[in-house]
C-alpha cells in the first residue's frame, strides 16, 4: 500500500544539483515506506540550514521553525501526540552550534524522537564558514588561517551520555543509510544519526575522497557494548566508520511516568475539563494552594 510516490510533492528543490542531501532524502523516503508509514503519520521538524529544508521536499506534516530549536519543538510534538513518528532533520551548524544546548538536554530527556544530523562539516547555507565539526587547521572562508578550535565529537558524547541509539551514516550509501534510518525510527527513545554529507560546493574534498575512507561496521561489531562503542566513536584512524555505533534499550523514555500514572491517551485529544461553579472548583483545590 505504501510506495515512494506517496511521498512525492511538487516543491522545487533548492539544493545544488548532485548534492548528497538528495541521497538522504531518498533514504528517508525509502525508510518510511519500508516501515509502512503514511505521510499523515509522520511529522518532520527542522530549524535553519540546507538540511532544514528537507521537510519541504516530501509529503508529510512538518514544522520548519527557528534556527537550532528543532529538538524542543519535536519534544513538544511527541509528548502531546505520541502516536506520530517525529523526526528532527538538522545539520551540524543548526544542531551542534546554534542548538547545542537542546541536543545535550534532548539526550537527557530521551523523548521518543529521531534526530538526523546532516553533517557536512561546514556552514553551507552561509557559503562555507567553519562549523562545530570542521577539522582543526582546515582553512575556511572566514577562518582563513585555519580553524583554531577543535571539532565536537557528538557521537562520542551521545554514547557517553547513554543516548540509546547512536549511528553514523553516509549520504553516498543509500542502502546502508536506509537500514540505519529504519532501525533509528523503530528505536524507542531518542535515536541519533550523524550522517556524513559531503558538500560539493563549499567542501574541501571530492565525493570519492569520502568514499575511500568509509569503513562499514561488520557483523562482528557489537553495538550493545558501550565501551567498545565509545572507543569506536573516539578512534582516530583516518577512516569514517559507518553503521550503528551504539544501541541499548532505553530505560527512561520521556513522559513515560506521566503516561503510566496519568493518561496513555494523546494529550491533543483530551479536550476540556468541566467546571460548572468557580466556588466549588476552588473548594476542591483549596488544600493545594
Amino acid at each position: 500500500m505504501n510506495n515512494l510516490d506517496e511521498y512525492n510533492n511538487q516543491v522545487e528543490i533548492q539544493w545544488c544539483p548532485g548534492c548528497p542531501n538528495f541521497g538522504i532524502l531518498n533514504a528517508l523516503k525509502g525508510a518510511l515506506v519500508e516501515l509502512g508509514k503514511s505521510p499523515h503519520e509522520i511529522c518532520l521538524v527542522s530549524g535553519i540550514g540546507q538540511a532544514a529544508k528537507l521537510p519541504h521536499y516530501l509529503k508529510c506534516n512538518f514544522f520548519n521553525g527557528l534556527h537550532g530549536r528543532a529538538i524542543p519543538v519535536a519534544t513538544g510534538i511527541q509528548v502531546v501526540n505520541p502516536d506520530l513518528t517525529t523526526i528532527v532533520v538538522t545539520g551540524d551548524g543548526d544542531c551542534y552550534g546554534e542548538g547545542g544546548n537542546h541536543f545535550i538536554h534532548g539526550i537527557r530527556r530521551n523523548a521518543d524522537i529521531t534526530v538526523l544530523v546532516h553533517n557536512n562539516e561546514i556552514y553551507a547555507l552561509t557559503k562555507g564558514q567553519a562549523s562545530p565539526t570542521t577539522p582543526l587547521g582546515e582553512k575556511r572562508r572566514l577562518q582563513i588561517r585555519g580553524v583554531e578550535i577543535p571539532p565536537l565529537n557528538m557521537p562520542a558524547f551521545a554514547i557517553m551520555q547513554d543516548c540509546g541509539f547512536v549511528a553514523r551514516g553516509f549520504a553516498g550509501d543509500r542502502e546502508q543509510l536506509q537500514d540505519i534510518l529504519v532501525r533509528a525510527i523503530k528505536h524507542r527513545g531518542m535515536s541519533y544519526v550523524d550522517i556524513i554529507q559531503p558538500c560539493i560546493t563549499w567542501g574541501t574534498h571530492p565525493l570519492n575522497w569520502y568514499k575511500e575512507k568509509i569503513a562499514k561496521l561488520g557483523d562482528e561489531y557489537d553495538p550493545g557494548d558501550k565501551i567498545a562503542a565509545l572507543s569506536m566513536a573516539l578512534i582516530k584512524d583516518d577512516l569514517i566508520h559507518t553503521g550503528v555505533l551504539y544501541e541499548a534499550p532505553s530505560a527512561n523514555i520521556f513522559a513515560a511516568r506521566f503516561r503510566k500514572e496519568v493518561t496513555t491517551r494523546p494529550l491533543t485529544g483530551l479536550g476540556m475539563q468541566k467546571a460548572e461553579n468557580i466556588y466549588n472548583l476552588f473548594s476542591e483545590f483549596k488544600q493545594s494552594f
Partner: protein
C-alpha cells in the same frame, strides 16, 4: 489586625523546633507588631479584621494555572524565574489531578519552542490532512519559497491586516482621576502603584494629579489625549522610551520626564521629589 492567629501559625510552623525558637519568634512578632501599631497604626488604611466564615488564600499564579488547566491546557514547559515560576510549580504539584504534563526546559527558548511544537489548530496525525508550519517566507501551502516577488508582498499584506485587527483588540490606557487636574502623569507597566501613591501624596500638597497608565503598547490603541492637560512622563529607563513613542504616535508634548535608571523601583515619593526638582 488580631495578633493571635499569627501567633498560632508560628506555633504550627515551628512545631518541630524547640520551645525556645517558638518563643523567640513570638517575641519578634510582638516587637514588630508593637512598633507597627505605634508608628503606622493611625495612618495605615489596611484592616484585617477576624472573620468567622471560612476563607482561603489563592495566589494569582495558582488561579491562573487552574484557569489554564480548565481552559484546556494539557502541557506546560517553563524555565524558572519569578514571577512566573509559581505557575508551573503549582501545576506540577497537581499534575495527576489535572492531567497536565509539566516540564522544566533547559532554557527559555527551549520552553517556548516545546510549547510551539504543540501546533495550536490542527493536530498532525489526527486525520489524513497534513499540517505545515514554516518560519521562513512560504507559499500558501506552507512551503519555503525563493520566489519572493510573487509571494512576499501578499504575505506582508496579510500580516499587516492582523496588525489592524490587533489595534481594535488592544487595551486602551487606564484613566485615573483625570477630572480637574493640575498635572497628568503618564506611565506604563509596573509604575502603576507608584503613580497612584504619588497622586495621593500630591493631594496632601494641594495638587490634583491625574494618571494615564498603559498596559499594552503595540500596536498603540486609538486614544485621544485631552488637549488641556499638562503631561509628565514617568518611566524606569534613561531615555524615556514611552514618551518618544507617544510624541511620535499621538503628537503630545511633555512638560517633564521623570526617569529612574538605578535599577531600583520607582516610588510615589521618588516621583514627587523629581517633580518638585524639575518644576
Amino acid at each position: 489586625m488580631d495578633i493571635h492567629p499569627v501567633k498560632d501559625n508560628i506555633k504550627k510552623i515551628f512545631l518541630k523546633k524547640s520551645e525556645e525558637i517558638i518563643s523567640n519568634n513570638e517575641n519578634a512578632l510582638g516587637e514588630g507588631y508593637y512598633l507597627a501599631q505605634k508608628e503606622c497604626g493611625e495612618i495605615c488604611y489596611w484592616k484585617l479584621p477576624r472573620r468567622d466564615d471560612e476563607h482561603y488564600i489563592i495566589t494569582g499564579n495558582e488561579a491562573l494555572a487552574l484557569g489554564a488547566a480548565y481552559g484546556g491546557c494539557r502541557f506546560i514547559s517553563a524555565y524558572p524565574m519569578s514571577p512566573s515560576t509559581g505557575i508551573i510549580t503549582y501545576l506540577a504539584s497537581v499534575q495527576e489531578r489535572l492531567g497536565i504534563f509539566t516540564e522544566q526546559a533547559e532554557d527559555e527558548i527551549a520552553a517556548i519552542n516545546m510549547a510551539s511544537g504543540i501546533f495550536p489548530r490542527l493536530w498532525p496525525g489526527m486525520s489524513r490532512h497534513l499540517v505545515a508550519a514554516d518560519s521562513d517566507e512560504h507559499d500558501e501551502w506552507g512551503h519555503i519559497t525563493e520566489d519572493l516577488a510573487a509571494t512576499a508582498p501578499a504575505m506582508v499584506k496579510k500580516r499587516i491586516s492582523k496588525l489592524n485587527g490587533l489595534k481594535g483588540a488592544v487595551q486602551p490606557p487606564e484613566e485615573i482621576s483625570l477630572e480637574k487636574t493640575d498635572v497628568v502623569f503618564i506611565g506604563w507597566g509596573s509604575t502603576r502603584g507608584a503613580l497612584i501613591e504619588a497622586s495621593d501624596l500630591f493631594k496632601h500638597d494641594g495638587i490634583n494629579a491625574g494618571i494615564i497608565h498603559f498596559t499594552e503598547l503595540w500596536p498603540l490603541p486609538e486614544y485621544d489625549f485631552p488637549k488641556d492637560k499638562t503631561y509628565w512622563d514617568v518611566e524606569g529607563n534613561a531615555l524615556g522610551q514611552l514618551s518618544r513613542l507617544l510624541k511620535d504616535e499621538y503628537d503630545i508634548n511633555f512638560k517633564g520626564l521623570i526617569s529612574r535608571y538605578d535599577g531600583l523601583p520607582i516610588t510615589g515619593e521618588y516621583i514627587r521629589r523629581c517633580f518638585y526638582e524639575q518644576s
